[in-house]
Symmetry: C2
Subunit: 247 residues, 2 copies
């Protein structure tokens, strides 16, 4: 039976793919994705029909993937990171459910920006955290703003996806203005650009000193909670062991 | 130079390890971990010194790992899931920073329970979400409670790690009592047990009908937001494409 695999390829380096993702790519005859991400995994896509498209054509890509499966082909629709975290899995399943299409479909998990940015920073998300996308493309700002307030108030570590784009320059600035009402200016901030790919940059700073110009559309921003601290090249959010154990 | 690798091995199936994790395990001469997780990856641990311990000895394991590196050995300290998400990375870095130890240390990202449970459920965390551990071992209940309230109020999808343990049976019951104040009883709930390993179970239910007896210490529980719905075997949180595009 033909299947649809909704695959997260991780940050983009070949060695942050899982074995399961590689296996499902191998089993597919058609690979569909945004061309920038297809390029990152092209070395392992031998003898495949590759359908590449531009960044904004998500709906076309998802519909094309479903159509190819209905035509009897096994298809991998790829996202960077984890397909189920701001990736293509949700859109594909939305379309399948809305049109009540009966195909075999599986989501294959991947290393999302939260996993990869956190690893490069040390251990910033070792305690409870929230993930918030600052893109207003699909979510209105008033909802995003409410989530930032609640997350800051409850002392969650906060991960910002899509902190900036060509058209949206002020999302991260406005978000930080909200956070400043709840958190000390010395709270650590980690900025990771192009995690595990060419141009990787890891910046450790704090709320007061962070430079918004260093943030772009390939950045993930992690704001520490009240316990987070910096040590050498690491951003560390303790989980609480030191209150309970001697070391 | 000897190095310490803080490695997330993913949910436990060999094919949800990343290539980078396998590479760093191969480079290590000593592997340290809780014996249940060591067992999951034993087939690839050839010619290694393996130091296994019981579940509660986290501090001992982290200190031993640091000591072995100081003795000149390259060590992998393994966690299930992602070492940086309620895993061993934070504790190891806490100890290193507190004792001001100067060793080469790297966190290697892995597929956490949030990635794997979400993939098995469909696309429940496609929009903003919070991760909350219900373990009161290291965090007092009043802080956890505050986080649940804020997360529920701001309509985050909520992922509960450690929903129950041998000693803590009521955490998830109390957590759901809080959530019921903010969310409709028909809100979808996904429960995933033993993701990608023997005994895997995927349960789709809702706040009203969920059976607390199905939840154990190997479970991850995901509570939908106000937009989440069930379709066939999938739990879907739309990201908002249907408001903007025709399909």
């Amino acid at each position: 039976m033909a299947s649809l695999y909704l695959i997260g390829i991780g940050p983009g380096s070949m060695d942050n793919l899982t074995g399961l993702a590689v296996k499902k790519l191998n089993e597919s005859s058609v690979i569909i994705g945004y061309k920038y991400y297809i390029n990152l995994i092209r070395p392992i896509l031998k003898n495949k029909e590759i359908i590449e498209s531009e960044i904004t054509n998500e709906v076309d890509r998802a519909e094309r993937a479903v159509l190819e499966v209905l035509n009897g082909k096994t298809v991998s629709l790829v996202s960077s990171g984890d397909s189920g975290i701001y990736g293509m899995a949700g859109l594909a399943l939305e379309i399948i459910s809305k049109k009540n299409i009966d195909i075999d479909v599986h989501v294959i998990p991947g290393i999302s920006a939260l996993n990869s940015a956190a690893a490069l920073l040390g251990s910033p998300i070792m305690n409870d955290f929230c993930s918030i996308s600052l893109s207003t493309n699909l979510t209105p700002w008033n909802i995003i703003e409410k989530r930032i307030m609640n997350a800051a108030e409850a002392d969650f570590v906060i991960i910002f996806y899509n902190p900036k784009s060509m058209r949206r320059q002020n999302g991260i600035v406005n978000a930080m203005e909200i956070i400043k009402r709840y958190r000390n200016e010395s709270t650590p901030v980690g900025i990771v650009k192009n995690a595990y790919r060419d141009g990787q940059e890891v910046i450790l700073t704090d709320i007061k000193s962070m430079d918004y110009n260093t943030i772009d559309m390939f950045s993930t921003v992690i704001i520490g909670n009240s316990q987070t601290y910096l040590y050498k090249d690491f951003m560390i959010t303790p989980r609480g062991y030191s209150k309970k154990y001697e070391y």
